[in-house]
Structures are given as structure tokens and as C-alpha cells.
Symmetry: C2
DNA sequence: TCGCGCTTCAAACGTATGTTTCAAACAGAC
DNA sequence: GTCTGTTTGAAACATACGTTTGAAGCGCGA
């Protein structure tokens, strides 16, 4: 058997465990026993636990950023000079995420949850790794968002982008649980695609909200809009 | 010296370290050495590390939920039977958070970051503790949101609430890092209060977006609804 | 068949963690 | 001052972690 078998089994197990428990809370022994692989295999093939974390991210982030690049290329081509609209930009992103070739049916939610963890868990090495390797498509997305929302100040745009990221990462990372809760509550089944279809208008509306910054006089909870 | 001194010093140190590093990544030895207290004091006064985590949350969540209850009471009184508006409800929440008596200037951001961590880090015991102790104001908030958005279907409202929670938890849990990034990028300093002031209009606009599932995806993604 | 990389394996290493122990120090009542 | 219950202190405990070791196993060209 080629090494790829062991390597992939480790990556699969690590991906799933990281997504459901976080990085520090997942030990190499959990990973190797789930992958049915010897403990030392991780350090043999990857070098360290941190390097394994990087490999897990690289495995899905590399194809995703390629998909994203072509989606952005196509979008900009079809716009012929004019900047793409906010809706178009958001759809290009979500479509790339949703249409990514998935290894399992849980693929998209694992994907999202890992991204959320990368942002949330203050793992310095991870942040640095992601910045070094994948800053380009991210910057490009930011540039397109900027062109799509010229009415916003840089500061407003910055924060609203964070809000969008949060709503997306949080919801998608818990999509399985949230879908199940809704099923038990109202009896409606939902797909990840449908969540995305509901998310995009929410984000677009938030992004284009008026009156970004009207701190209300203290003590009075006067409506803003 | 009364015990309260040691207890409070432990709580102060734990709160700060938890907020900036997470729970698993913060050891009791870090806490006790920052608090200038003997290692065994934690287990003596609190019983265990998990119990200490609960105590940290209880110390700020108990006054907060009381503040929140009265804010909601006042809001409902001032509305005399009519349901409160979405903006009013959201502002009542954020104002309660922002106006909480703070122990330090970093109080509010620590508060927010801990809440974000509670949501994000899947610490089973913490989730259970929070559900057991503080579910009531949360349910009440949900009820008010429902009355403030009668135009939404139950399913739309459900997802949009998740989007709101995500944007809030995610942004607030990383508020320090995000503020610092913006500072380095544009040279603008920001307070947590300002973030909240920007967040509320974003959330309200997203919550009230029209045509939840209508926008035709460009690039010929098959329509969903 | 031998020899040589590459890979697996069981075992151990050193370190860090949460927790426990038990004697010493302390504070307040009598 | 002495006794009593509470709090602190230094040290040890058992366990879990990431990592390293060195021998055994394997596949394959010579």
C-alpha cells in the first residue's frame, strides 16, 4: 500500500475531529486511533501536530481557492469593466463553496467549521500559515466587495465584512445541528444550499443598511432607522 | 485577609486569561501565578477547573441577566401592550451589555469574548451550565424577536436569528484582534461600544430584508425555491 | 537471495496538566 | 494564651500529552 493511504486516513480523521472538538482538545492519540494508524505515523508523515493542522487546511483550501479564482475570473469577464454587484460577488463565493467537490456529505459544514475555528481559536501558527498561503483570493474578494459598495466608508465596510464572515462561518459551521433543531421544531428539512440562499439576501441587506453609525443618546433607546 | 481576596484575585486572573487564550489553553498554573496565589487555592475554593470556569461566567452573567430583565421590563412597559420594535429590542440588549458595571476598562470586551468562546468552544459542561442557569432571559429575547418580526415566516425567522447570533458572537469573540487589525490598517481606534453601534443596524437590516429566497443566482445556479 | 529505502510498530521519553495531600500559618472566640 | 475551624503553602500524585527511538516489516530492483 502506498503511503497515501495512511496519510489520507490521518487527514480524514484529523479533519473530522478538529471540526467537532477544536485543535487543542483533539489529541494525536484520538486521531490515530480513529484513523486506525500508529501514533508515530503523524510525526513521521507530517512532522508535528501543527504541521498536520496546516495540512488539513491545505487539503481543502487549495482546491477551494482555485475554484474561487476561476469563479471570480468568470464574473469579472461577464461584467466587462464594470465592477460586479454585491449580490453577484456574494453568490460567486457561496456557489464556489457549495459546489466544491466534497469528500463526504458533511463536507461543507466541516469546511465552514474549520474556517470558523481558524478565525476563533487564537492559534498563532495557523493564522500565519493561512496568511502566507491564501491571502490572495481573500484580498481579491475584499477588493471586489470594495468596488461593489462604494457608498461605504472604509471603516464601515471593514466591520460589515466581519459581520458577514461571522454570520456565515457561525451558521455554516453549525449547519447540521441547526438543521436538526429546525426539523424537530417545525418539521421542515433544509439543505445547506437553502441556507446559503437565505444567507445571501440577509448579508446583502445588512451590507447595504443605511445609518451605519448613529450611536443613540445614552439612556434612550430610540429607534434608528 | 478574608477569603474574598484570594477568590477575587483568582477570578480576575482567570477571566482575563480565559478571554485572551481560551479555556483549554489556559492552565491553572498560569492563573494562579498571575493571581499571585498558591496553585492549590483554585481547587480549595472552587473545587475544579470546570467549576472555576462556571464561576467566572456566573460573576458577570448573573448581574447581566438581571440588568437585561429590567431593560426588557421597561421596554415592554413603555410599549403598553404593543410589541417592541426590532430596533428597540436589539438596542435593549446591546445597551444592557454595554452599560453593565465594568470592573476594568477592558470589561466589556472580555465579557463579549467570553460569550463568544462559550458559543464557539464546544465545552459540554459550560453549555449545560449556561442552559441550566440562564435560559430564561434568552427565551424571552427570542419571544420578543418573534413579536417584532411578524412578517417573517417561522423558518425565515429561525435562520435569520442564527445569522444574527453568528455575526455577533463571531465578531465579539474576536473583537480585540479585529480592532487591532483595523488600527494597523487604517489607523483608526475603535471601542466595543462602537462595534455594537455598527452591528445593530446591520442586524436589523438583514433581519428585515425582503424576498428571502428570491434573488436569482447569477451564473445559472439552479433556483431553489 | 540479498540489500536498501521507506513505512509501521510498540515502547519509552520528558514535560505539563489537574488534582490531592498534609503540615504550617492564621484569625477569632473563649 | 489556648483552642478551633479556616486558609495557605510546598510538594507530590497520577495522568495525558507531543515527540523520539530503534527494531521489525515491507516492496522491489539488482
Amino acid at each position: 500500500m502506498a503511503q497515501s493511504d495512511t496519510v489520507d486516513r490521518i487527514l480524514d480523521a484529523a479533519e473530522e475531529l478538529f471540526a467537532e472538538r477544536g485543535f487543542s482538545e483533539t489529541s494525536l492519540r484520538m486521531i490515530t486511533s480513529k484513523a486506525k494508524v500508529n501514533l508515530a505515523a503523524v510525526n513521521y508523515h507530517f512532522g508535528s501536530k501543527n504541521a498536520l493542522i496546516h495540512a488539513v487546511f491545505a487539503r481543502f483550501l487549495t482546491p477551494f481557492s482555485a475554484t474561487l479564482e476561476t469563479a471570480f475570473d468568470e464574473l469579472e469577464d461577464s461584467c466587462k469593466g464594470k465592477p460586479a454587484s454585491l449580490n453577484q460577488t456574494l453568490w460567486a463565493l457561496t456557489e464556489s463553496a457549495v459546489r466544491m467537490p466534497q469528500r463526504t456529505d458533511k463536507g461543507i459544514s466541516i469546511f465552514m467549521r474549520l474556517l470558523g475555528l481558524a478565525y476563533t481559536q487564537s492559534q498563532g501558527h495557523l493564522r500565519k500559515f493561512l496568511e502566507d498561503e491564501y491571502s490572495e483570493p481573500f484580498s481579491r474578494f475584499m477588493r471586489m466587495l470594495k468596488e461593489a459598495t462604494p457608498q461605504l466608508s472604509a471603516v464601515d465596510r471593514y466591520w460589515r465584512i466581519q459581520f458577514m464572515l461571522g454570520a456565515t462561518a457561525f451558521t455554516m459551521s453549525s449547519s447540521d445541528a441547526l438543521i436538526e433543531i429546525l426539523e424537530n421544531k417545525i418539521g421542515v428539512d433544509t439543505t445547506v444550499q437553502e441556507i446559503a440562499a437565505r444567507l445571501v439576501p440577509f448579508l446583502a441587506a445588512g451590507m447595504q443598511a443605511r445609518d451605519a453609525m448613529l450611536i443613540p443618546p445614552p439612556g434612550s433607546m430610540v429607534s434608528i432607522a
